[in-house]
């Protein structure tokens, strides 16, 4: 029973799932926090909708990065666009799982943190509409680490030989 579950394929898919799920959860929480702040500002001044929407979108990228890694995993194991799933050894599956961890974990945490920074940026725009770029930059500083994690996940997957 355990053997049939703990094989290469399942591990690889678990990796894809971790990347997409954790990144997605993080982005959902981050975008949610920023959205609450944005709604508050728009209730005062509906004209700021476009500006605060830009800020709200910023923590959404981690979910996309997670999706991206999940997609690459699926292509790599032949689940998408191939001739059916490859047979993977446990070691191969575990490697793919490991490669999915950076974007999953960092994506989750950084999206939440970025959501808070974006919410603060929304407040900034509420008080000083001309400082939109600075608000965006504060949120983008957080995103750096998600970008780095994405890069690590990608490079690990890319250099894995199956």
């Amino acid at each position: 029973m355990v053997d049939s579950l703990l094989n290469g394929q399942v591990l690889a898919l678990a990796g894809a799932a971790i990347a997409a799920t954790l990144g997605g959860i993080g982005s959902a929480l981050g975008v949610g926090v920023a959205g609450q702040a944005a709604a508050g500002v728009v209730s005062e001044d509906p004209n700021k909708f476009g500006q605060v929407l830009l800020l709200q979108a910023l923590p959404g990228t981690q979910g996309i990065y997670g999706l991206l890694i999940a997609f690459i995993v699926m292509v790599k194991v032949g689940l998408l666009g191939g001739d059916g799933m490859l047979d993977l050894t446990v070691a191969q599956g575990a490697s793919i799982f490991a490669a999915s961890l950076p974007i999953g974990i960092v994506g989750l945490c950084s999206a939440i943190a970025q959501g808070k920074a974006a919410a603060a940026g929304v407040m900034l725009v509420g008080k000083r509409p001309s400082e939109l770029a600075k608000g965006m930059l504060f949120a983008a500083m957080v995103e750096t680490y998600a970008v780095l994690a994405l890069l690590v996940s990608f490079l690990m997957l890319n250099s894995l030989q199956l």
């Binding site: 979108a57 997609f71 666009g81 770029a133 930059l137 995103e143 970008v147 890069l151 990608f154």
Partner: protein, 664 residues
């Protein structure tokens, strides 16, 4: 480099010609007038000189502007006409504008009054409707009570209304009350989730006994107020009032919608009032005596002739001088052609201080390259450029908006170039479409290489670009040291770092190009490192001279993290490419045939819009970040104050001069 030279202007003129002079000065729009606040507090100046206080004028005009703005908002809310996507100022010749204002002013002011009145009526009616709805809600439980509400008693009997908790047993209550007062009449009128509603009729002199009997049930008596008629009648009459009010709102809304034909005139009025307000306001910034007025301010050097001509015409006393070396001067950027488009990137961070270099010209090429590299899809680049070009052609944009669209137009070109180099055309859409729809193999080959297959190559390329970017930033700092007469600082703080960093790179990676580079790099790095150790603490005292050098050398970690930060160029480029592939793969899942093709195209269109939007935003933000954090960190401080000339700050019209026609 490209910060406009400013000159200081001091003027003394006659009060009698102040008003026409201000008109013409505003028309020129090149002089910033300093506020004279604080100056008059000097005892020396008092009491003959005073600041002209016309705050009453200003606040009257402000009130007018607020009214016109309320009217415009109200009309816009019900204006069904098509609104342009992007707001632009309408161009109009000055004499046409003046004639038009003279001809329509009275009618327009009446229209404003009407609009404000309608707006108020609508707001009042809404409030009244809300109030009535609340009253109706309170009455609804009593709707079946068929006694007029003004009747609370007859000669001998009295009516008591009230509520008990919804959980109360009604039958038990009735039995208990009847036991105490056999002659009472009890009606359960209604019930809702919280309460049960009762009416009691009893003899007047038994009223106290009734309350006594009801006490165990937690009875709360209710008074329905002074109104006449049964609750049902009242509810009906209130409903009728609401209908009438809604009718009124509709009529007023129609009136407002009908006023939309006069909207343009009202907008003209708004602008004209704003200009009057600004002229009135600026008088408050000047000093006056009985007969003359004084002001000082700043103007760009290139406008000197125009300003002098104006001042000579009015025969005013004036003085133009160069600013003192350490005086704070307002900043106006001046770049030519393509570079102007990128001024927004600089001003979003902070304008350069007076002795800073305007970094726009240096950052523009890097911004261009980085943005394209991060979006890196030829088709997206075409869409971006063409979209911006259409908007620029269709709308007469000005100022920041114009520069932004212009910048994205150039960035689109860069995106196209990088996309073609990396073989990204909507990701791999054409390959997927050819396979799904026609069953053919079709590949657009990249001109250079495909980063999805050789990511390490692009990573190294990105880091090299980053290294160049940082070196240029350090170079600017060195230039500034030398310009300010500190060539040794340039040598110690920049030159030695160049030596160390280049040496390290040659030591580490030079071997693959030419083996002899390795030892050369090693000695360069050692000389650089030792130099930094010795000179890093030169401005400190005592023990600091030694630790300062160590501290400086430790700064090498920041160069490492700075360069690694450019790996985002690769990551974001990959993100665009892979998301595009995800979209195309999803679209192709429905298989071939007509249905499959339709699914592919629908998924493709929706996905592409999403991908461009999210990744262009990412490319914009991260290109900015690389400039602000990694590049500006090396040399730029900013903190300059924007040049704000006294000019026509209009929102709806752009007034054109007709120098030739009326000879001015």
């Amino acid at each position: 480099m490209a910060v406009t030279d400013m000159q200081k202007l001091t003027v003394i003129g006659l009060n009698s010609s102040r008003t026409p002079f201000l008109h013409e000065l505003m028309r020129l729009g090149v002089v910033e007038i300093n506020s004279q606040e604080g100056v008059v507090n000097d005892e020396e100046w008092m009491p003959d000189i005073f600041r002209t206080s016309n705050s009453a004028d200003v606040s009257r005009l402000e009130a007018d502007i607020a009214r016109v703005s309320v009217a415009l908002d109200a009309i816009n809310r019900y204006d069904t006409g098509k609104k342009p996507l992007i707001h632009t100022r309408k161009e109009i010749k000055r004499n046409v504008f003046v004639d038009h204002m003279n001809a329509t002013k009275t009618a327009t002011e009446m229209n404003v009054d009407h609009a404000v009145e309608s707006n108020k009526k609508i707001a009042d009616a809404r409030t009244e409707i809300n109030r009535l709805r609340t009253v109706i809600q309170g009455l609804q439980p009593w709707e079946t009570l068929d006694v007029p509400m003004e009747m609370t008693e007859t000669a001998h009997a009295c009516l008591v209304l009230g509520t008990v908790n919804a959980k109360t047993n009604g039958a038990q209550l009735q039995t208990d009350v009847l036991a105490a007062l056999p002659s009472a009449v009890i009606n359960e009128i209604g019930a809702d989730k919280q309460q049960k509603y009762f009416s009691f009729i009893c003899w007047k002199d038994e009223k106290d006994q009734l309350y006594e009997a009801l006490r165990p049930y937690g009875f709360v008596s209710v008074t329905l107020g002074e109104t006449k008629g049964t609750p049902a009648e009242l509810i009906q009459s209130y409903e009728e009032q609401i209908t009438a009010l809604e009718q009124e709102i509709q009529e007023e809304e129609q009136k407002l919608a009908a006023l939309s034909v006069a909207k343009q005139d009202i907008e003209y009025l708004y602008d004209s009032l704003c200009m009057r307000r600004d002229r009135a306001k600026v008088v408050g910034d000047m000093l006056s005596t009985e007969t003359v007025f004084y002001f000082d301010g700043w103007m760009p050097k290139w406008s000197r002739e125009k300003v002098e001509n104006l001042l000579k015409k009015y025969e005013f006393y004036y003085n133009i001088e160069e600013p003192d070396p350490d005086e704070e001067v307002p900043i106006l950027l001046h770049n030519n052609g393509v570079v102007t488009a990128f001024e927004g990137v600089t001003s979003m961070y902070s304008l350069p201080a007076r002795h800073d270099i305007d970094p726009t010209a240096i950052l523009a090429p890097f911004y261009f390259i980085f943005f394209g590299l991060m979006l890196s899809d030829a088709a997206y680049g075409i869409i971006l450029s063409v979209g911006c070009a259409i908007i620029l052609k269709k709308y007469k944009l000005e100022g920041t908006m114009y520069r932004m669209f212009k910048m994205f137009f150039y960035c689109g070109i860069s995106t196209f170039i990088w996309g073609a180099l990396f073989g990204g055309w909507f990701g791999d859409f054409f390959t997927v479409a050819a396979r799904t729809m026609f069953g053919v193999d079709f590949v657009i080959n990249p001109i250079w290489f495909n980063p999805l297959e050789e990511p390490m190559k692009l990573l190294i390329f990105s880091l090299i670009l980053g290294g160049i970017h940082i070196f240029v930033g350090m170079g600017v700092q060195a230039y500034m040291y030398i310009r300010d007469g500190h060539p040794l600082d340039a040598l110690f703080d920049i030159g030695l770092w160049y030596l160390l960093l280049i040496g390290l790179v040659m030591f580490g990676f030079g071997g693959s190009l030419m083996p002899s580079l390795v030892p050369v790099g090693k000695y360069m790095a050692i000389v650089g490192a030792v130099g930094i150790l010795i000179t890093g603490g030169r401005k400190k005292k005592g023990l600091g001279k030694i630790t300062g050098g160590l501290g400086s050398l430790y700064g090498i970690t920041s160069y490492l993290s700075d360069v690694l930060s450019y790996s985002r160029l690769l990551a974001l480029g990959l993100a665009t490419g892979v998301v595009a592939q995800v979209i195309n793969t999803l679209g192709s899942l429905a298989g071939g045939g007509i249905v499959g093709s339709i699914v592919l195209i629908v998924v493709f269109l929706a996905g592409t819009v999403f991908n461009i939007a999210i990744n262009a935003l990412g490319a914009f933000v991260h290109s900015c970040r690389l400039q602000y954090v990694e590049f500006f960190g090396k040399f730029y401080t900013g903190g300059g104050r924007e040049f704000r000339p006294f000019e026509r700050k209009t929102k709806y019209v752009k007034i054109l001069e007709e120098d030739v026609e009326d000879g001015r």
